[in-house]
Symmetry: C2
Subunit: 261 residues, 2 copies
């Protein structure tokens, strides 16, 4: 008997029609992750799905009808600081998708915001699209590859219901902003700036998993305070706002299909 | 019966005492990879060890006493250009180590060179150490994490026998060089500049696989020609020099233990 044809498109829409079951929340810093681990009463996975050598941490549990996994890249094995940035983010995104096959990825974290584009401290943004601002390759087409523009999974109902701000996210591996970064961020038309988003988007897109980006503003990039100082000053308070926002996002997602977001 | 204690260190030295068996050669561009694929008479792996969605290509075969795998991240699925840069490099390094458990990783490719530090077009360098020059995080310890300085696996006999130049390698995701990049490259004391090395080193170090870096100079960064133009002009010719050098490196490695390199 010949099995009925199931083109990829109809399979995708099948998965969009059943309630979301497993989500992976990728968070680069422990300070950002722990309030959510407590909120969802997750437990650190002792029998890791990751290789023994890596510092990546998975917190897992059931919250309402969802299997929730918070993945944190952990502390750098040599230096003891959070494994921030695009290399770690891309690795944990890849390994998490391979191990857990989530229906949806949420990259949550803090970000810098541009007041000229309407961002203020503690604002929560949902990214409409993400791109890199520090991969300049001035050769035709490779230039576009470097920018790596990708749409976030479209969630019109979610952003309406939770009154989240929506803006474009630009990603780079530096906390500061050089004039070249600034020019690229302007070209990306970005309202917020982080250190992981576009890498998560790249890997999620490669492996065909929908991804959304929830970012809380810790510092105003086009303000008068030095970024590192403002970031550290606001990190704890903004993390509370992030915890509340991600909880609302998860509550909204619970029981819904991808196509209802 | 209690098994005899085998501390990690003695296991590492055990593996250093048997001849190298499996090597992974990571190459970012097809133009750089194909001459070596032909030279070693490798075949493209049809039953991929990688997920079906990714464009990563494995060429495999036996050359002398070695299982050789050339891994190329492939063409970007949307844009059709080589998947260059640190994100792709870190992903293929991770997935290759997981799938193939190589004894040694060789990251081979082209690089920019600084004539002020003694580099000339078509020079072949073996990197002594690698670091990033575009991950500026001005917060104590996170700044060091950003730089991500790592030693290449030490190969004194290899560099002596093949008369390869030895120098420090600095990695960033841009083909051009901003003034901030330049300051970081000078701080890294680098003679050559590429777009993958430090990412490969990070992942190899994380997973405890020795890695070496063989880089051929396509353009002089501190010269008077525009990088992209000079790079494209010299790419084909320098790729021949790279093929010869990597072949000599592989011939030298054949039959030797890690500790003999």
């Amino acid at each position: 008997m010949v099995p009925p044809e199931r083109p990829e498109e109809s399979m995708a829409s099948e998965s969009e029609k059943r309630p979301i079951s497993t989500i992976v929340i990728l968070i680069a810093m422990q300070t950002e992750a722990l309030p959510l681990v407590n909120k969802f009463q997750l437990k650190e996975d002792q029998d890791s799905v990751f290789p023994t050598e890596v510092p990546w941490v998975r917190y897992r549990g059931t919250y309402k009808d969802l299997n929730i996994n918070i993945i944190w890249p952990g502390k750098d094995t040599a230096l003891g600081v959070d494994s921030v940035g695009t290399v770690s983010a891309s690795l944990v995104t890849y390994a998490s998708i391979q191990a857990l096959q989530p229906d949806l990825i949420i990259n949550a974290g803090t970000a810098g915001g541009f007041k000229a584009k309407g961002a203020a401290i503690s604002d929560i943004f949902l990214a409409s699209e993400v791109a890199f601002h520090d991969r300049r390759i001035p050769i035709p087409i490779l230039d576009l590859y470097g920018v790596g523009l990708r749409q976030a999974f479209s969630t019109p109902n979610l952003s309406k219901r939770l009154s989240l701000k929506v803006g474009k996210l630009s990603t780079g591996d530096s906390l500061d902003m050089s004039s070249q970064d600034e020019a690229s961020i302007i070209a990306n038309d970005a309202t917020i700036k982080d250190m992981e988003g576009a890498a998560v988007a790249y890997v999620a897109d490669l492996l065909k998993v929908p991804a959304i980006f929830v970012k809380a503003v810790t510092d105003i990039v086009d303000g008068d305070k030095p970024t590192a100082e403002e970031f550290l000053q606001n990190l704890a308070a903004v993390t509370v706002a992030l915890e509340q926002a991600v909880t609302e996002v998860v509550d909204f997602i619970n029981g819904k299909c991808l196509s209802e977001l």
